[in-house]
Symmetry: C2
Subunit: 318 residues, 2 copies
Protein backbone atom coordinates (compact mmCIF):
# COMPACT_ATOMS: atom_id res chain seq x y z
CA UNK A 1 0.00 0.00 0.00
CA UNK A 2 1.64 3.19 -1.16
CA UNK A 3 0.28 5.62 1.41
CA UNK A 4 2.51 4.55 4.31
CA UNK A 5 6.00 3.46 5.13
CA UNK A 6 4.82 0.36 6.97
CA UNK A 7 2.32 -0.41 9.70
CA UNK A 8 2.39 -0.39 13.47
CA UNK A 9 0.35 -2.55 15.81
CA UNK A 10 -0.84 -1.44 19.23
CA UNK A 11 -1.91 -4.11 21.74
CA UNK A 12 -3.65 -2.86 24.87
CA UNK A 13 -3.46 -5.78 27.26
CA UNK A 14 -6.08 -5.48 29.98
CA UNK A 15 -7.27 -7.87 32.64
CA UNK A 16 -10.31 -8.85 30.53
CA UNK A 17 -9.52 -8.14 26.89
CA UNK A 18 -6.61 -7.46 24.58
CA UNK A 19 -7.53 -4.57 22.29
CA UNK A 20 -5.56 -4.74 19.06
CA UNK A 21 -5.18 -2.03 16.43
CA UNK A 22 -3.34 -1.71 13.13
CA UNK A 23 -2.15 1.83 12.48
CA UNK A 24 -0.29 3.75 9.84
CA UNK A 25 2.82 5.76 10.67
CA UNK A 26 0.56 8.81 10.52
CA UNK A 27 -1.60 7.55 13.38
CA UNK A 28 -4.58 6.38 11.36
CA UNK A 29 -6.38 3.38 12.91
CA UNK A 30 -7.24 1.11 9.97
CA UNK A 31 -8.24 -2.11 11.68
CA UNK A 32 -9.32 -3.11 15.17
CA UNK A 33 -9.77 -6.44 16.95
CA UNK A 34 -10.62 -7.45 20.50
CA UNK A 35 -9.72 -10.84 21.99
CA UNK A 36 -10.36 -12.13 25.53
CA UNK A 37 -7.12 -11.92 27.54
CA UNK A 38 -5.61 -15.41 27.76
CA UNK A 39 -2.87 -16.36 30.24
CA UNK A 40 0.08 -14.99 28.21
CA UNK A 41 2.42 -17.71 29.31
CA UNK A 42 2.26 -20.42 26.66
CA UNK A 43 1.81 -21.09 22.93
CA UNK A 44 -2.01 -21.17 23.22
CA UNK A 45 -2.08 -17.74 24.85
CA UNK A 46 0.40 -16.25 22.39
CA UNK A 47 -1.61 -17.70 19.47
CA UNK A 48 -4.75 -15.91 20.70
CA UNK A 49 -2.89 -12.62 20.37
CA UNK A 50 -1.13 -13.38 17.07
CA UNK A 51 -4.39 -14.71 15.67
CA UNK A 52 -5.84 -11.24 16.23
CA UNK A 53 -2.84 -9.78 14.41
CA UNK A 54 -3.47 -12.09 11.46
CA UNK A 55 -7.06 -10.83 11.26
CA UNK A 56 -5.91 -7.18 11.48
CA UNK A 57 -3.51 -7.75 8.57
CA UNK A 58 -6.19 -9.54 6.56
CA UNK A 59 -8.58 -6.60 7.04
CA UNK A 60 -5.93 -4.22 5.67
CA UNK A 61 -4.66 -6.62 3.00
CA UNK A 62 -1.20 -6.17 4.52
CA UNK A 63 1.63 -8.68 4.98
CA UNK A 64 3.40 -9.48 8.29
CA UNK A 65 6.59 -8.05 6.77
CA UNK A 66 4.88 -4.65 6.48
CA UNK A 67 4.66 -4.35 10.27
CA UNK A 68 7.55 -2.20 11.50
CA UNK A 69 6.64 -2.21 15.18
CA UNK A 70 4.38 -3.89 17.74
CA UNK A 71 3.79 -2.02 20.97
CA UNK A 72 2.15 -3.53 24.03
CA UNK A 73 0.45 -1.56 26.78
CA UNK A 74 0.49 -3.63 29.96
CA UNK A 75 -1.04 -3.11 33.42
CA UNK A 76 2.33 -3.21 35.18
CA UNK A 77 5.20 -0.86 35.96
CA UNK A 78 7.74 -0.88 33.10
CA UNK A 79 11.11 0.33 34.41
CA UNK A 80 13.44 2.37 32.20
CA UNK A 81 15.44 -0.79 31.47
CA UNK A 82 12.25 -2.49 30.16
CA UNK A 83 12.43 -5.35 32.64
CA UNK A 84 8.94 -5.82 34.05
CA UNK A 85 8.98 -7.40 37.50
CA UNK A 86 5.38 -7.26 38.70
CA UNK A 87 2.11 -7.60 36.81
CA UNK A 88 -0.69 -7.82 39.34
CA UNK A 89 -3.69 -8.40 37.08
CA UNK A 90 -2.41 -10.56 34.23
CA UNK A 91 -0.27 -13.62 33.68
CA UNK A 92 2.56 -12.62 31.40
CA UNK A 93 5.73 -14.33 30.17
CA UNK A 94 7.46 -11.35 28.65
CA UNK A 95 10.18 -13.19 26.73
CA UNK A 96 7.82 -15.86 25.41
CA UNK A 97 5.31 -13.30 24.19
CA UNK A 98 8.03 -11.19 22.58
CA UNK A 99 9.39 -14.21 20.72
CA UNK A 100 5.92 -15.17 19.48
CA UNK A 101 5.29 -11.63 18.23
CA UNK A 102 8.65 -11.54 16.46
CA UNK A 103 7.86 -14.82 14.78
CA UNK A 104 4.51 -13.42 13.71
CA UNK A 105 5.95 -10.16 12.32
CA UNK A 106 9.69 -10.63 11.69
CA UNK A 107 10.42 -6.99 10.76
CA UNK A 108 8.75 -5.50 13.83
CA UNK A 109 10.38 -3.85 16.83
CA UNK A 110 8.53 -5.09 19.94
CA UNK A 111 8.10 -2.68 22.85
CA UNK A 112 6.35 -2.76 26.22
CA UNK A 113 4.90 0.24 27.98
CA UNK A 114 2.82 0.72 31.10
CA UNK A 115 -0.85 1.17 30.16
CA UNK A 116 -1.29 4.66 31.61
CA UNK A 117 1.96 5.76 29.98
CA UNK A 118 0.82 4.28 26.68
CA UNK A 119 -2.49 6.15 26.90
CA UNK A 120 -0.48 9.34 27.50
CA UNK A 121 1.56 8.66 24.36
CA UNK A 122 -1.65 8.06 22.40
CA UNK A 123 -2.95 11.47 23.47
CA UNK A 124 0.41 12.95 22.46
CA UNK A 125 0.37 11.35 19.04
CA UNK A 126 -3.17 12.00 17.86
CA UNK A 127 -5.16 13.18 20.89
CA UNK A 128 -5.52 16.17 23.22
CA UNK A 129 -1.80 16.57 23.81
CA UNK A 130 -0.88 16.69 20.13
CA UNK A 131 1.67 19.40 19.46
CA UNK A 132 2.93 19.58 23.05
CA UNK A 133 6.37 18.45 24.04
CA UNK A 134 5.79 17.75 27.72
CA UNK A 135 2.59 17.02 29.58
CA UNK A 136 1.16 14.91 32.36
CA UNK A 137 -1.69 12.53 31.71
CA UNK A 138 -3.92 11.60 34.63
CA UNK A 139 -6.40 8.78 34.24
CA UNK A 140 -9.21 8.71 36.77
CA UNK A 141 -11.07 5.44 36.97
CA UNK A 142 -11.33 2.82 39.71
CA UNK A 143 -7.91 4.16 40.72
CA UNK A 144 -5.83 7.15 39.65
CA UNK A 145 -2.97 6.50 37.23
CA UNK A 146 -0.71 8.76 35.32
CA UNK A 147 1.86 9.18 32.61
CA UNK A 148 4.60 11.79 32.40
CA UNK A 149 5.78 12.79 28.93
CA UNK A 150 8.94 14.86 28.59
CA UNK A 151 10.60 15.85 25.34
CA UNK A 152 8.06 13.71 23.47
CA UNK A 153 8.82 10.50 25.33
CA UNK A 154 7.47 8.67 28.36
CA UNK A 155 9.39 9.14 31.59
CA UNK A 156 9.42 5.58 32.95
CA UNK A 157 11.43 6.00 36.11
CA UNK A 158 14.09 3.69 37.45
CA UNK A 159 11.50 1.27 38.87
CA UNK A 160 8.72 2.15 36.43
CA UNK A 161 7.01 4.26 39.09
CA UNK A 162 7.13 7.60 37.28
CA UNK A 163 3.62 8.96 36.82
CA UNK A 164 2.24 7.09 39.85
CA UNK A 165 0.30 10.24 40.64
CA UNK A 166 -2.41 8.26 42.42
CA UNK A 167 -0.05 7.33 45.23
CA UNK A 168 1.17 10.78 46.11
CA UNK A 169 0.64 11.07 49.87
CA UNK A 170 -1.45 14.21 50.27
CA UNK A 171 -2.91 13.60 53.70
CA UNK A 172 -0.46 12.02 56.16
CA UNK A 173 -3.17 12.19 58.87
CA UNK A 174 -5.40 9.74 56.96
CA UNK A 175 -5.98 6.53 58.93
CA UNK A 176 -7.62 4.45 56.17
CA UNK A 177 -5.03 2.39 54.27
CA UNK A 178 -4.62 2.72 50.51
CA UNK A 179 -4.24 -0.36 48.31
CA UNK A 180 -0.54 0.50 47.90
CA UNK A 181 0.10 0.04 51.62
CA UNK A 182 0.35 3.78 52.28
CA UNK A 183 -2.33 6.13 53.49
CA UNK A 184 -3.65 9.52 52.44
CA UNK A 185 -2.91 8.89 48.74
CA UNK A 186 -4.54 11.04 46.05
CA UNK A 187 -6.36 7.92 44.80
CA UNK A 188 -8.25 7.68 48.10
CA UNK A 189 -10.02 10.98 47.34
CA UNK A 190 -9.97 11.54 43.58
CA UNK A 191 -10.63 8.11 42.02
CA UNK A 192 -14.13 6.92 41.14
CA UNK A 193 -13.92 4.78 44.27
CA UNK A 194 -12.76 7.75 46.32
CA UNK A 195 -15.59 9.93 45.04
CA UNK A 196 -18.15 7.27 45.99
CA UNK A 197 -16.60 6.87 49.42
CA UNK A 198 -16.60 10.64 50.05
CA UNK A 199 -20.22 10.75 48.89
CA UNK A 200 -21.33 7.97 51.24
CA UNK A 201 -19.48 9.61 54.12
CA UNK A 202 -21.19 12.94 53.39
CA UNK A 203 -24.60 11.20 53.25
CA UNK A 204 -23.93 9.52 56.58
CA UNK A 205 -22.89 12.71 58.32
CA UNK A 206 -25.91 14.56 56.88
CA UNK A 207 -28.24 11.69 57.81
CA UNK A 208 -29.56 11.34 54.26
CA UNK A 209 -30.12 8.26 52.13
CA UNK A 210 -27.61 7.89 49.27
CA UNK A 211 -28.79 7.41 45.68
CA UNK A 212 -28.65 3.79 44.44
CA UNK A 213 -25.12 2.79 43.42
CA UNK A 214 -24.14 0.02 41.00
CA UNK A 215 -20.99 -0.64 42.99
CA UNK A 216 -18.18 0.89 45.05
CA UNK A 217 -16.77 2.77 42.02
CA UNK A 218 -20.04 4.02 40.52
CA UNK A 219 -18.99 7.66 40.46
CA UNK A 220 -21.35 8.21 37.54
CA UNK A 221 -24.30 7.90 39.94
CA UNK A 222 -22.69 10.48 42.21
CA UNK A 223 -22.18 12.86 39.29
CA UNK A 224 -25.81 12.36 38.27
CA UNK A 225 -26.88 13.17 41.85
CA UNK A 226 -24.78 16.34 41.68
CA UNK A 227 -26.71 17.36 38.58
CA UNK A 228 -29.81 17.12 40.78
CA UNK A 229 -28.24 19.48 43.36
CA UNK A 230 -27.45 16.72 45.84
CA UNK A 231 -25.34 18.42 48.53
CA UNK A 232 -23.47 15.25 49.51
CA UNK A 233 -22.52 14.67 45.87
CA UNK A 234 -21.34 18.28 45.56
CA UNK A 235 -19.20 17.83 48.65
CA UNK A 236 -17.61 14.66 47.24
CA UNK A 237 -16.77 16.49 44.00
CA UNK A 238 -15.32 19.40 45.97
CA UNK A 239 -13.04 16.99 47.86
CA UNK A 240 -11.94 15.42 44.57
CA UNK A 241 -11.15 18.83 43.04
CA UNK A 242 -9.25 20.03 46.08
CA UNK A 243 -7.03 16.96 46.26
CA UNK A 244 -6.52 16.63 42.53
CA UNK A 245 -5.84 20.35 42.15
CA UNK A 246 -3.20 20.20 44.85
CA UNK A 247 -1.64 17.08 43.33
CA UNK A 248 -1.36 18.75 39.93
CA UNK A 249 0.23 21.82 41.56
CA UNK A 250 2.77 19.52 43.24
CA UNK A 251 3.50 17.87 39.90
CA UNK A 252 4.03 21.32 38.36
CA UNK A 253 6.65 22.12 41.03
CA UNK A 254 8.57 19.02 39.92
CA UNK A 255 8.42 19.14 36.12
CA UNK A 256 6.32 22.20 35.16
CA UNK A 257 4.65 20.60 32.11
CA UNK A 258 3.03 22.42 29.22
CA UNK A 259 -0.35 20.87 30.01
CA UNK A 260 -2.29 18.34 32.04
CA UNK A 261 -4.64 15.93 30.28
CA UNK A 262 -7.38 14.06 32.19
CA UNK A 263 -8.62 10.71 30.96
CA UNK A 264 -10.48 7.70 32.36
CA UNK A 265 -14.21 7.22 32.82
CA UNK A 266 -14.59 10.10 35.26
CA UNK A 267 -13.46 12.60 32.63
CA UNK A 268 -16.81 12.05 30.87
CA UNK A 269 -18.38 14.09 33.69
CA UNK A 270 -15.84 16.91 33.44
CA UNK A 271 -18.57 19.50 32.89
CA UNK A 272 -19.35 18.98 36.60
CA UNK A 273 -15.82 19.48 37.94
CA UNK A 274 -13.30 20.89 35.47
CA UNK A 275 -13.94 24.56 36.22
CA UNK A 276 -13.68 24.00 39.97
CA UNK A 277 -10.59 21.79 39.49
CA UNK A 278 -8.84 24.60 37.60
CA UNK A 279 -9.66 27.00 40.48
CA UNK A 280 -8.26 24.56 43.04
CA UNK A 281 -5.14 23.97 40.94
CA UNK A 282 -4.51 27.71 40.66
CA UNK A 283 -4.91 28.23 44.37
CA UNK A 284 -2.05 25.81 45.05
CA UNK A 285 0.21 26.41 42.03
CA UNK A 286 3.28 28.63 41.87
CA UNK A 287 2.23 31.81 40.11
CA UNK A 288 4.37 31.11 37.03
CA UNK A 289 2.61 27.74 36.56
CA UNK A 290 -0.91 28.87 37.46
CA UNK A 291 -2.10 29.10 33.85
CA UNK A 292 -1.00 25.62 32.78
CA UNK A 293 -4.05 24.25 30.94
CA UNK A 294 -5.97 21.22 32.23
CA UNK A 295 -7.58 19.47 29.28
CA UNK A 296 -9.77 16.42 28.73
CA UNK A 297 -8.39 13.42 26.84
CA UNK A 298 -9.91 12.78 23.44
CA UNK A 299 -9.13 9.15 22.54
CA UNK A 300 -11.21 7.40 25.17
CA UNK A 301 -10.65 3.66 25.39
CA UNK A 302 -8.46 3.55 22.29
CA UNK A 303 -5.71 5.73 23.77
CA UNK A 304 -3.74 2.63 24.81
CA UNK A 305 -3.81 1.13 21.30
CA UNK A 306 -2.61 4.38 19.74
CA UNK A 307 0.04 4.99 22.35
CA UNK A 308 1.41 1.44 22.34
CA UNK A 309 1.78 1.67 18.56
CA UNK A 310 3.43 5.08 18.85
CA UNK A 311 6.01 3.83 21.36
CA UNK A 312 6.84 1.02 18.91
CA UNK A 313 7.08 3.54 16.08
CA UNK A 314 9.52 5.66 18.11
CA UNK A 315 11.60 2.57 18.91
CA UNK A 316 11.67 1.45 15.27
CA UNK A 317 13.13 4.84 14.28
CA UNK A 318 15.86 4.98 16.90
Amino acid sequence: MARTAGFYIGLDVGGTTVKEGLLTAQGELIAREVVPTPPLTDAVGYAAVTGGIDRLLAQAAAAPEDVRGIGLAVPAPVPSDGRIKVAANIKLDLDGLRDALRESCPAAAVTFENDANAAAMGELWVGSARGTDSFVFVTIGTGVGGGVVHAGRVVSGVAGAAGEIGHMCLNPEETRPCGCGGHGCLEQYASATGIVRSYLAACRSAGVEPVPLAGPSDSRAVFEAARDDDAAAASAIETMCDYLGRALALVACVIDPEAFVLGGGTSNSSDLFLERLVECYRSYALICSADTPIEIASLGNDAGIFGAAYVALQASRR
Copy 2:
Protein backbone atom coordinates in the same frame (compact mmCIF):
# COMPACT_ATOMS: atom_id res chain seq x y z
CA MET B 1 47.35 22.55 24.99
CA ALA B 2 47.18 19.00 23.78
CA ARG B 3 45.31 17.42 26.66
CA THR B 4 41.88 18.83 25.80
CA ALA B 5 39.65 19.64 22.88
CA GLY B 6 39.06 23.20 24.07
CA PHE B 7 37.96 24.86 27.28
CA TYR B 8 34.64 25.66 28.92
CA ILE B 9 33.89 28.52 31.26
CA GLY B 10 31.33 28.37 34.04
CA LEU B 11 30.04 31.61 35.55
CA ASP B 12 27.99 31.31 38.73
CA VAL B 13 26.22 34.65 38.99
CA GLY B 14 25.09 35.27 42.56
CA GLY B 15 23.66 38.31 44.28
CA THR B 16 27.07 39.16 45.77
CA THR B 17 29.78 37.59 43.61
CA VAL B 18 30.28 36.06 40.19
CA LYS B 19 32.33 32.88 40.59
CA GLU B 20 34.18 32.09 37.37
CA GLY B 21 35.92 28.85 36.46
CA LEU B 22 37.89 27.59 33.46
CA LEU B 23 37.40 23.87 32.88
CA THR B 24 38.53 21.18 30.50
CA ALA B 25 36.06 19.04 28.59
CA GLN B 26 36.86 16.34 31.15
CA GLY B 27 35.58 18.47 34.03
CA GLU B 28 38.93 19.52 35.47
CA LEU B 29 38.84 22.99 37.07
CA ILE B 30 42.10 24.64 36.03
CA ALA B 31 41.56 28.27 36.98
CA ARG B 32 39.15 30.11 39.26
CA GLU B 33 38.29 33.80 39.75
CA VAL B 34 35.74 35.66 41.85
CA VAL B 35 34.47 39.14 41.02
CA PRO B 36 31.89 41.24 42.89
CA THR B 37 28.57 41.08 41.02
CA PRO B 38 28.13 44.31 39.07
CA PRO B 39 24.81 45.45 37.59
CA LEU B 40 24.95 43.30 34.42
CA THR B 41 23.24 45.91 32.30
CA ASP B 42 26.01 47.96 30.68
CA ALA B 43 29.55 47.86 29.29
CA VAL B 44 31.12 48.45 32.69
CA GLY B 45 29.28 45.50 34.22
CA TYR B 46 30.02 43.20 31.27
CA ALA B 47 33.73 44.23 31.41
CA ALA B 48 33.92 43.16 35.06
CA VAL B 49 32.86 39.67 34.00
CA THR B 50 34.96 39.44 30.83
CA GLY B 51 37.96 40.85 32.75
CA GLY B 52 37.68 37.80 35.01
CA ILE B 53 37.60 35.59 31.90
CA ASP B 54 40.80 37.26 30.63
CA ARG B 55 42.53 36.44 33.92
CA LEU B 56 41.27 32.82 33.80
CA LEU B 57 42.72 32.43 30.30
CA ALA B 58 46.01 34.05 31.34
CA GLN B 59 46.34 31.62 34.27
CA ALA B 60 45.92 28.68 31.87
CA ALA B 61 47.99 30.25 29.04
CA ALA B 62 44.93 29.72 26.82
CA ALA B 63 43.51 31.88 24.02
CA PRO B 64 39.91 33.19 23.80
CA GLU B 65 39.49 31.08 20.65
CA ASP B 66 40.11 27.94 22.74
CA VAL B 67 36.87 28.51 24.66
CA ARG B 68 34.12 26.34 23.17
CA GLY B 69 31.40 27.29 25.58
CA ILE B 70 30.46 29.74 28.33
CA GLY B 71 27.69 28.73 30.70
CA LEU B 72 26.02 31.05 33.16
CA ALA B 73 24.18 29.96 36.29
CA VAL B 74 21.69 32.66 37.24
CA PRO B 75 19.33 33.09 40.22
CA ALA B 76 16.20 33.15 38.06
CA PRO B 77 13.84 30.68 36.41
CA VAL B 78 15.11 29.76 32.95
CA PRO B 79 12.19 28.45 30.85
CA SER B 80 12.72 25.71 28.27
CA ASP B 81 12.83 28.37 25.52
CA GLY B 82 15.71 30.12 27.34
CA ARG B 83 13.84 33.43 27.70
CA ILE B 84 14.38 34.62 31.28
CA LYS B 85 11.58 36.87 32.45
CA VAL B 86 12.24 37.48 36.14
CA ALA B 87 15.51 37.80 38.05
CA ALA B 88 14.66 38.90 41.59
CA ASN B 89 18.13 39.36 43.06
CA ILE B 90 20.30 40.67 40.23
CA LYS B 91 20.18 43.25 37.46
CA LEU B 92 20.67 41.42 34.21
CA ASP B 93 20.46 42.41 30.54
CA LEU B 94 20.54 38.99 28.98
CA ASP B 95 21.16 39.99 25.38
CA GLY B 96 23.80 42.58 26.25
CA LEU B 97 25.72 40.14 28.44
CA ARG B 98 25.50 37.42 25.80
CA ASP B 99 26.89 39.76 23.14
CA ALA B 100 29.76 40.85 25.40
CA LEU B 101 30.66 37.23 26.15
CA ARG B 102 30.57 36.31 22.45
CA GLU B 103 32.88 39.23 21.69
CA SER B 104 35.21 38.05 24.43
CA CYS B 105 35.27 34.41 23.24
CA PRO B 106 34.09 34.26 19.62
CA ALA B 107 34.06 30.45 19.32
CA ALA B 108 31.98 29.90 22.47
CA ALA B 109 28.36 28.75 22.74
CA VAL B 110 26.73 30.86 25.47
CA THR B 111 24.08 29.22 27.65
CA PHE B 112 22.01 30.27 30.66
CA GLU B 113 20.76 27.94 33.35
CA ASN B 114 18.98 28.40 36.65
CA ASP B 115 21.49 28.24 39.52
CA ALA B 116 20.00 25.21 41.30
CA ASN B 117 19.69 23.37 37.98
CA ALA B 118 23.32 24.25 37.17
CA ALA B 119 24.44 22.90 40.54
CA ALA B 120 22.55 19.69 39.75
CA MET B 121 24.39 19.39 36.44
CA GLY B 122 27.71 19.96 38.22
CA GLU B 123 26.94 17.07 40.55
CA LEU B 124 26.00 14.97 37.52
CA TRP B 125 29.23 15.78 35.67
CA VAL B 126 31.86 15.35 38.37
CA GLY B 127 30.01 15.13 41.71
CA SER B 128 27.79 12.80 43.70
CA ALA B 129 25.42 12.06 40.82
CA ARG B 130 28.17 11.03 38.41
CA GLY B 131 27.17 7.93 36.49
CA THR B 132 23.43 8.38 37.02
CA ASP B 133 21.08 9.26 34.24
CA SER B 134 18.24 10.81 36.22
CA PHE B 135 18.26 12.32 39.67
CA VAL B 136 16.79 15.15 41.70
CA PHE B 137 19.04 17.69 43.36
CA VAL B 138 17.69 19.50 46.41
CA THR B 139 19.59 22.47 47.79
CA ILE B 140 18.74 23.45 51.34
CA GLY B 141 19.91 26.91 52.34
CA THR B 142 17.97 30.05 53.21
CA GLY B 143 15.30 28.55 50.98
CA VAL B 144 14.82 25.16 49.35
CA GLY B 145 15.66 24.89 45.66
CA GLY B 146 15.94 21.98 43.33
CA GLY B 147 16.99 20.67 39.98
CA VAL B 148 15.54 17.74 38.06
CA VAL B 149 17.84 15.87 35.71
CA HIS B 150 16.35 13.39 33.25
CA ALA B 151 18.27 11.51 30.57
CA GLY B 152 21.39 13.49 31.46
CA ARG B 153 19.82 16.91 30.95
CA VAL B 154 18.08 19.50 33.09
CA VAL B 155 14.29 19.51 32.97
CA SER B 156 13.56 23.25 32.78
CA GLY B 157 9.80 23.28 32.53
CA VAL B 158 7.66 25.44 30.33
CA ALA B 159 7.98 28.44 32.70
CA GLY B 160 11.32 27.43 34.21
CA ALA B 161 9.55 26.17 37.33
CA ALA B 162 10.63 22.53 37.14
CA GLY B 163 12.54 21.57 40.27
CA GLU B 164 10.81 24.19 42.41
CA ILE B 165 10.63 21.59 45.14
CA GLY B 166 10.64 24.26 47.86
CA HIS B 167 7.19 25.44 46.86
CA MET B 168 5.39 22.14 46.94
CA CYS B 169 2.33 22.73 49.13
CA LEU B 170 2.58 20.05 51.83
CA ASN B 171 0.37 21.58 54.49
CA PRO B 172 -2.72 23.31 53.12
CA GLU B 173 -3.79 24.09 56.71
CA GLU B 174 -0.76 26.35 57.27
CA THR B 175 -1.78 29.96 57.97
CA ARG B 176 1.67 31.61 57.70
CA PRO B 177 2.36 32.83 54.14
CA CYS B 178 5.39 31.63 52.18
CA GLY B 179 7.53 34.09 50.22
CA CYS B 180 6.00 32.68 47.02
CA GLY B 181 2.53 33.86 48.02
CA GLY B 182 1.34 30.38 48.88
CA HIS B 183 1.27 28.70 52.27
CA GLY B 184 2.36 25.37 53.67
CA CYS B 185 5.31 25.07 51.25
CA LEU B 186 8.14 22.61 51.93
CA GLU B 187 10.50 25.58 52.28
CA GLN B 188 8.58 26.78 55.34
CA TYR B 189 9.65 23.65 57.24
CA ALA B 190 12.81 22.30 55.65
CA SER B 191 14.94 25.35 54.78
CA ALA B 192 17.54 26.77 57.18
CA THR B 193 15.00 29.50 57.93
CA GLY B 194 12.26 26.93 58.47
CA ILE B 195 14.44 24.90 60.83
CA VAL B 196 15.20 28.00 62.91
CA ARG B 197 11.52 28.94 63.00
CA SER B 198 10.49 25.42 64.09
CA TYR B 199 13.21 25.54 66.74
CA LEU B 200 12.07 28.89 68.16
CA ALA B 201 8.45 27.69 68.19
CA ALA B 202 9.47 24.53 70.06
CA CYS B 203 11.45 26.61 72.58
CA ARG B 204 8.45 28.88 73.14
CA SER B 205 6.03 26.05 73.68
CA ALA B 206 8.46 24.34 76.08
CA GLY B 207 9.14 27.64 77.88
CA VAL B 208 12.92 27.38 77.38
CA GLU B 209 15.45 29.96 76.24
CA PRO B 210 16.79 29.35 72.72
CA VAL B 211 20.52 29.19 72.06
CA PRO B 212 22.00 32.40 70.58
CA LEU B 213 21.34 32.69 66.84
CA ALA B 214 23.35 34.73 64.33
CA GLY B 215 20.18 35.41 62.32
CA PRO B 216 16.86 33.98 61.14
CA SER B 217 18.58 31.33 58.97
CA ASP B 218 21.26 30.20 61.42
CA SER B 219 20.35 26.55 61.26
CA ARG B 220 23.94 25.70 62.11
CA ALA B 221 23.32 26.90 65.69
CA VAL B 222 20.22 24.67 65.85
CA PHE B 223 22.22 21.67 64.63
CA GLU B 224 24.91 22.41 67.23
CA ALA B 225 22.20 22.55 69.91
CA ALA B 226 20.93 19.16 68.70
CA ARG B 227 24.43 17.76 69.22
CA ASP B 228 24.05 18.87 72.86
CA ASP B 229 20.74 16.95 73.16
CA ASP B 230 18.55 20.04 72.96
CA ALA B 231 14.97 18.70 72.69
CA ALA B 232 13.63 21.74 70.81
CA ALA B 233 16.42 21.40 68.24
CA ALA B 234 15.66 17.68 67.86
CA SER B 235 12.00 18.50 67.29
CA ALA B 236 12.88 21.07 64.57
CA ILE B 237 15.06 18.48 62.81
CA GLU B 238 12.27 15.90 63.06
CA THR B 239 9.85 18.34 61.40
CA MET B 240 12.39 19.02 58.64
CA CYS B 241 12.90 15.27 58.01
CA ASP B 242 9.19 14.53 57.98
CA TYR B 243 8.37 17.25 55.45
CA LEU B 244 11.42 16.70 53.28
CA GLY B 245 10.95 12.93 53.35
CA ARG B 246 7.34 13.32 52.22
CA ALA B 247 8.32 15.79 49.51
CA LEU B 248 10.93 13.40 48.10
CA ALA B 249 8.35 10.58 48.11
CA LEU B 250 5.96 12.84 46.16
CA VAL B 251 8.74 13.62 43.68
CA ALA B 252 9.38 9.88 43.29
CA CYS B 253 5.69 9.36 42.37
CA VAL B 254 6.16 11.85 39.54
CA ILE B 255 9.51 10.94 38.02
CA ASP B 256 10.95 8.05 40.06
CA PRO B 257 14.59 9.15 39.80
CA GLU B 258 17.66 6.98 40.31
CA ALA B 259 18.78 9.08 43.26
CA PHE B 260 18.27 12.22 45.31
CA VAL B 261 21.24 14.47 46.03
CA LEU B 262 21.14 17.03 48.83
CA GLY B 263 23.27 20.18 48.66
CA GLY B 264 23.34 23.62 50.23
CA GLY B 265 24.75 24.70 53.58
CA THR B 266 22.45 22.48 55.63
CA SER B 267 23.86 19.36 54.01
CA ASN B 268 27.07 19.92 56.02
CA SER B 269 25.11 18.76 59.08
CA SER B 270 23.73 15.67 57.38
CA ASP B 271 25.19 13.40 60.07
CA LEU B 272 22.41 14.79 62.26
CA PHE B 273 19.49 14.14 59.94
CA LEU B 274 20.24 11.92 56.94
CA GLU B 275 19.42 8.61 58.62
CA ARG B 276 16.10 9.94 59.94
CA LEU B 277 15.34 11.57 56.57
CA VAL B 278 15.76 8.22 54.83
CA GLU B 279 13.36 6.63 57.35
CA CYS B 280 10.77 9.35 56.73
CA TYR B 281 11.18 9.08 52.95
CA ARG B 282 10.64 5.32 53.10
CA SER B 283 7.53 5.66 55.22
CA TYR B 284 5.89 7.78 52.51
CA ALA B 285 7.35 6.25 49.33
CA LEU B 286 5.73 3.65 47.09
CA ILE B 287 7.36 0.33 47.89
CA CYS B 288 9.10 0.07 44.52
CA SER B 289 10.79 3.47 45.09
CA ALA B 290 11.54 3.02 48.79
CA ASP B 291 15.20 2.19 48.28
CA THR B 292 16.07 5.17 46.08
CA PRO B 293 19.31 6.48 47.61
CA ILE B 294 19.50 9.94 49.21
CA GLU B 295 23.05 11.21 48.89
CA ILE B 296 24.97 14.31 49.90
CA ALA B 297 26.37 16.63 47.21
CA SER B 298 30.13 16.68 46.88
CA LEU B 299 31.03 19.88 45.01
CA GLY B 300 29.95 22.42 47.63
CA ASN B 301 30.00 26.02 46.42
CA ASP B 302 31.68 25.14 43.12
CA ALA B 303 28.76 23.03 41.86
CA GLY B 304 27.35 26.02 39.96
CA ILE B 305 30.63 26.69 38.12
CA PHE B 306 30.97 23.06 37.07
CA GLY B 307 27.34 22.71 36.07
CA ALA B 308 27.17 25.96 34.10
CA ALA B 309 30.25 24.87 32.15
CA TYR B 310 28.74 21.42 31.57
CA VAL B 311 25.50 22.85 30.19
CA ALA B 312 27.60 24.95 27.77
CA LEU B 313 29.60 21.85 26.84
CA GLN B 314 26.38 19.94 26.09
CA ALA B 315 25.12 22.84 23.96
CA SER B 316 28.41 23.11 22.05
CA ARG B 317 28.11 19.44 21.09
CA ARG B 318 24.51 19.54 19.91
